[in-house]
């Protein structure tokens, strides 16, 4: 009789143990949701999304938040890297986002709620019945763009007295102005964490008289007065892309080609992290044009800052993130 009671009293414990496994999945899904939405991941500086295949093992945690001070605000470049399934394999997702000793299956999806549906990503397997679940509402931050169009013509045109054959136009990143605590991380421009985009459109407006193009001799990067060596060629698209006249061809920092309508330079965080920039540094991107006689009189310094005339910052896009674990 005593043995019977002992066995019988163990039965409910056994049942309760079986029952709790479903609850456990919800907790894991919740934890994964928190890591993705409220954590920028690790390492932070340089951020994990700038790591390439060779350094993938150094990534410890893949969080998508802009900063730990801005929960629910996700960075578009982190999202694109996270859902890049040719970079991360299922084991990476388990060891860097889901954690735990059990090899959980997962399904993580993200969709933006704007009319165009700009973001629509998924990774993982189809969900079976009885999975653990969490849904988070977030906003997505996208990189800023400095569009220098014809309206800047008068501001950035030198007088024709200048007899030299070269013309320099500079875009300046003053980190003192950019990385300031007074700007919420959700709206901050940080070239060390996000790509920056310099686009000169309507270049025809900057051309002299009958010239049909001006030769872009080089693009150089300067910290203070010293130029920074930049040994990358056009195939290093993880570092930068330089396009001319909306041409799909990519150019090196010394293109030496004629520009008639536009220049687009995207400088990515892996490059800026090599420049050794601190919170008070000044980074200059110098476009040098060389023609005999000069084909353009473009000159001056364009500040990449929070002035909305100088730099456009896209609106945050609302989105929903779902995590299923089983």
């Amino acid at each position: 009789m005593v043995a019977l009671i002992a066995v019988a009293s163990m039965v409910p414990g056994l049942l309760a143990g079986l029952q709790s496994s479903g609850i456990d999945y919800d907790a894991v899904a919740y934890r994964t949701g928190v890591i993705l939405v409220e954590d920028p991941g690790w390492p932070v500086d340089p951020p994990w999304e700038t790591y390439d295949e060779n350094h993938k093992d150094e990534i410890e945690r893949i969080g998508l938040a802009v900063s730990r001070d801005a929960p629910n605000i996700l960075l578009s470049t982190k999202i694109e890297k996270f859902f890049n399934t040719s970079f991360f394999d299922p084991e990476d997702y388990r060891s860097k986002a889901i954690f735990g000793d059990i090899p959980y299956s997962y399904n993580i999806t993200l969709r933006s709620l704007d009319a165009e549906g700009t973001y629509n990503y998924a990774t993982g397997d189809d969900t079976p019945p009885g999975y653990g679940y969490i849904r988070r509402v977030v906003k997505i931050k996208e990189p800023s763009v400095a569009v220098i169009d014809g309206s800047f013509k008068d501001q950035y045109t030198t007088d024709t007295e200048d007899t030299s054959t070269s013309r320099n136009f500079t875009v300046r990143f003053d980190f003192n102005r950019l990385i300031t605590q007074s700007i919420d991380p959700a709206y901050r421009i940080d070239p060390r964490a996000e790509p920056v985009n310099i686009t000169i459109t309507d270049f025809g407006e900057f051309l002299n008289g009958t010239a049909s193009y001006a030769t872009l001799e080089s693009v150089t990067f300067r910290r203070g007065s010293s130029s920074i060596p930049f040994p990358y060629d056009e195939s290093d698209t993880d570092y930068y892309t330089l396009r001319i006249d909306n041409n799909p061809v990519l150019y090196s920092p010394e293109p030496g080609v004629g520009v008639s309508s536009s220049i687009s330079l995207v400088l990515k965080p892996p490059a800026t992290s090599l420049f050794n920039l601190g919170p008070t540094s000044i980074l200059d991107v110098e476009f040098k044009f060389e023609d005999e006689p000069p084909a353009t009189n473009i000159t001056g310094i364009h500040y990449y800052d929070y002035n909305p005339t100088n730099v456009t910052r896209p609106d945050l896009k609302p989105a929903v993130l779902e995590v299923a674990i089983w």
């Binding site: 019988a8 409910p12 919740y30 709206y187």
Partner: protein, 169 residues
């Protein structure tokens, strides 16, 4: 005449008692697996979602841009608040929309009283027996600049407490 039938009755009685006790013990210990401790899981999911939605409504899309949450409260626009809240709340990445419902109230101070203003009333699915969760967020209202009075909060700058009841139906 003394025999041992009384002893037999006693043993039967004790055995029956033990069986009854055992049965009662088994019934009590095998039922009610679903305890209070487990009900918090779906509640937690709803609470997290609700507080995410309030936080995102409280985050302008651009620096210095319009804050939806503050605007809806300032304009006493319950309809707009409800539509935006449920748009975020019911959105999924694929498949049908979720079926969450909500009501909302704003608690504020008027002179020396604490008053509650129903911003969004419950809809027809509300029976009072739902397992609803409550999410809250403090919202800072600035000094009201326009000439028309801001009902019912008055013109002064103040912090008000937005409370949303959220349930599935």
């Amino acid at each position: 005449m003394v025999n041992d039938s009384g002893q037999l009755y006693t043993m039967e009685g004790i055995a029956a008692g033990l069986v009854m006790l055992l049965t009662a013990y088994l019934i009590l210990s095998t039922t009610s697996i679903y305890t209070q401790g487990d009900t918090h899981i779906p509640d937690m999911q709803l609470e997290q979602l609700g507080s995410d939605v309030l936080a995102m409504m409280d985050t302008p899309d651009r620096e210095g841009g319009k804050n939806q949450l503050v605007e809806f409260i300032n304009e006493n626009n319950g309809g707009g608040f409800k539509d935006k809240f449920l748009e975020y709340c019911n959105a999924k990445t694929s498949g049908d929309l979720d079926t969450l419902h909500m009501s909302a109230s704003v608690t504020y101070r008027k002179e020396d009283r604490i008053e509650e203003h129903q911003l969004v009333g419950p809809d027809e699915t509300w029976t009072g027996r739902e397992s609803a969760v409550r999410v809250t967020r403090w919202v800072q209202l600035d000094q009201h600049q326009q000439l028309s009075p801001r009902q019912p909060y008055g013109q002064r700058a103040q912090a008000v407490l937005v409370e949303v009841l959220l349930w599935r139906a």
